[in-house]
């Protein structure tokens, strides 16, 4: 069908009808700029008229005090984040401190209150009773050390939901202490019991109960997840690097934390430069095809149109003789050859550079005080001879943004100080190491988002899947249960290893 485009000089007249032609060409697909000053395609949803705004008189700029919609959203989010996070952290800390004080001061209060309130009626404390004092003191000391060891560690992460076991234990401790106080206030304070030994024994029993709760805490928080139960398979979405980890019975958020911590030390660093080749290949597959709609505007339902378009494109692409596999093969072979050549040059250059310096012995120190260098200066002295080869190699393997000049020289000084060979120095450049190895701004993604269909405080089960999103990529994790192993034994007597010759001759006579 033909295209009728009416040219209007001032750009605001109506046009009768326009037959639409849907064309997707190679270069102009994403280009939405209209051709300058030529046509006025009214009724077409994709074209704009440059001249339209020039005859209007309203001014719609933003004044200095106005906020756009995005600003508002951003501010509320910041507010939420900062207030939310700090609020939670302070709240948790406050609760922990209050609970701790309650726990430690309660036994002491139990012991001292009778002396304060009714000292004259109180029986004197015999030897057994005083022995109990020592027991209370030591048990409180042990409890203090144990609580310090278990709870006063720097937090490694901020998780999205509360830690269920910790909350349960805090509630349990609180209930225990409250119930002891209730009993104490009703039976001892009100009736002013004179048997001090009973009171001391009561305080000792409270400290014992607290120690047992601490044992429960150790078992629930630390020991339960040590036995491996699930095998979690973690894949990076951009390049498919996969690792498997054995985890115990954890909630999904704790499992995600374990996965992220292992990610930093196991996965090779994410290099976006290596992915550009496949993207350009993908773009070339559907390029070069034009789709013409010959049915006219009567068949204009947009969904049907798009579907038939894409089906036509797929069919055409399948029928086309595609030689991109050929190009890929030769390109990869060529790249491999280039990398090997550069690597050979690099290795030779580095080995030669390392022969220029040697460690100075003590007796030489008196002889030649002239050219003595510390490791940093030595590194700077030999670096220029290998710099060019190293830079070319890094460019070929697309790693040049991972290593800065400063970091390379630092690494060289480190290797020289520790008597490493050239091969040891080169190892960090030849194979991409884990993210922790590189400088800080490379593992800048410390903000991870956990995406999960099940609630994140529920436990891992067979077949649980969750996603950990960061800015550049995401990690997909799937868990599988480690099967139950039934093992049986078979005893072999060492004397039962006996052998005979297998001879079976047959002779004809």
């Amino acid at each position: 069908m033909e295209v009728e485009v009416l040219q209007a000089p001032d750009g605001c007249e109506d046009v009768d009808e326009v037959k639409e032609v849907v064309v997707s060409t190679i270069e102009e697909e994403f280009n939405t700029s209209s051709p300058p000053a030529s046509s006025c395609g009214r009724g077409a949803k994709t074209s704009q008229d440059d001249n339209w705004g020039e005859t209007t008189t309203a001014i719609t700029g933003t004044s200095e005090h106005s906020l756009s919609q995005e600003d508002i959203v951003r501010i509320t989010k910041d507010l939420e984040d900062s207030v939310g996070l700090d609020c939670r952290r302070y709240f948790t800390r406050a609760v922990a401190v209050i609970l701790g004080l309650l726990v430690f001061l309660t036994p002491l209060a139990f012991l001292t209150l009778p002396h304060i309130l009714w000292p004259e009626k109180l029986q004197s404390c015999g030897t057994a009773c005083e022995g109990l004092f020592i027991s209370v003191a030591f048990k409180l000391l042990i409890l203090l050390l144990a609580v310090w060891a278990l709870y006063f560690r720097p937090a490694r992460a901020g998780l999205p939901r509360v830690f269920v076991f910790r909350v349960l234990l805090a509630v349990l401790v609180f209930l225990l202490v409250v119930s002891y106080w209730l009993f104490y206030s009703v039976r001892i304070l009100d009736s002013q019991d004179t048997n001090y030994q009973g009171v001391v024994q009561y305080a000792v029993s409270l400290v014992d109960a607290l120690l047992f709760i601490h044992y429960l805490a150790v078992v629930l928080l630390e020991l339960r997840q040590l036995q491996p139960c699930y095998s979690v398979c973690v894949t990076r979405s951009t390049d498919g690097a996969t690792r498997h980890y054995n985890l115990g019975q954890l909630s999904i958020q704790r499992a995600a934390l374990a996965v992220v911590e292992n990610y930093y030390s196991d996965f090779p660093i994410h290099n976006p430069a290596l992915l550009s080749a496949s993207k350009s290949r993908a773009a070339k597959h559907l390029a070069g095809l034009k789709v013409y709609n010959v049915d006219g505007p009567g068949n204009n339902t947009s969904a049907g149109l798009v579907q038939s378009q894409s089906r036509a494109m797929i069919a055409a692409a399948a029928r086309r003789r595609d030689t991109s596999h050929n190009e890929l093969y030769y390109e990869e072979a060529e790249h491999e050859r280039r990398v090997r050549k550069r690597k050979a040059r690099l290795v030779v250059a580095v080995e030669e550079a390392f022969t220029h310096i040697k460690r100075m012995q003590d007796e030489e120190q008196k002889k030649a005080p002239g050219d003595v260098m510390d490791p940093r200066e030595a590194a700077q002295a030999i670096f220029p001879s290998m710099a060019r080869a190293l830079q070319k190699y890094l460019r070929t393997t697309k790693q040049q943004h991972c290593h800065s000049m400063e970091s390379i020289q630092q690494h060289l000084a480190f290797c020289i100080t520790n008597n490493m060979t050239p091969k040891a120095f080169l190892e960090s450049f030849l194979t991409p190491g884990p993210s922790l190895q590189y400088s800080r701004d490379h593992w800048r993604a410390r903000q991870w988002t956990l995406v999960s269909e099940a609630s994140v405080t529920s436990g891992l089960k067979d077949g649980t899947t969750f996603l950990l999103k960061c800015v550049d990529f995401s990690l997909v994790a799937t868990s599988k249960k480690i099967p139950y192993i039934q093992m049986s034994e078979e005893y072999i007597d060492p004397k039962s290893h006996k052998f005979v010759l297998r001879l079976q001759s047959e002779t004809s006579v």
Binding site: V500, R502, L503, Q504, S505, E506, T507, S508, V509
Partner: protein, 127 residues
């Protein structure tokens, strides 16, 4: 045909006389033997008792002297020309059978069906 070590062996035996055939410069009998006290008795397909280390006939060449003399495959050779064959090595058995100076061998062989035949005969004789 099983034996108890230390006790005399009793078996129903058949006498077979084989005339050796001259083939080239050798005298042959036309059968193959297997077994012996230096062999693995478990591999013997013809013995009933798998600990029996006696000499057994493993193959008969058709039309040869042994076939003519009614030697059957699976027979156990107890004596050759008076020499005992129940406790010999494989090589000793071969030597006793292939003495080039003798041109006839007289074997005492035993097989399972012999006992059956004798028992039947006794029954029919007695009844």
């Amino acid at each position: 045909m099983s034996f108890v070590p230390g006790q005399p062996v009793t078996a129903v035996v058949q006498r077979i006389e084989i005339q050796k055939l001259r083939q080239g410069d050798k005298l042959i009998l036309g059968f193959s033997i297997g077994g012996g006290i230096d062999q693995d008795p478990g591999q013997n397909p013809f013995s009933e008792d798998k600990t029996d280390k006696g000499i057994y006939v493993t193959r008969i060449s058709p039309g040869g002297p042994a076939d003519v003399a009614n030697l059957r495959m699976g027979d156990k050779i107890m004596q050759v020309n008076g020499w005992d064959m129940t406790m010999v090595t494989h090589d000793q058995a071969r030597k006793k059978l292939t003495k080039q100076k003798e041109d006839v061998v007289r074997l005492l062989i035993t097989r399972k069906s012999l006992e059956e035949t004798v028992r039947l005969q006794l029954k029919s004789m007695l009844s």
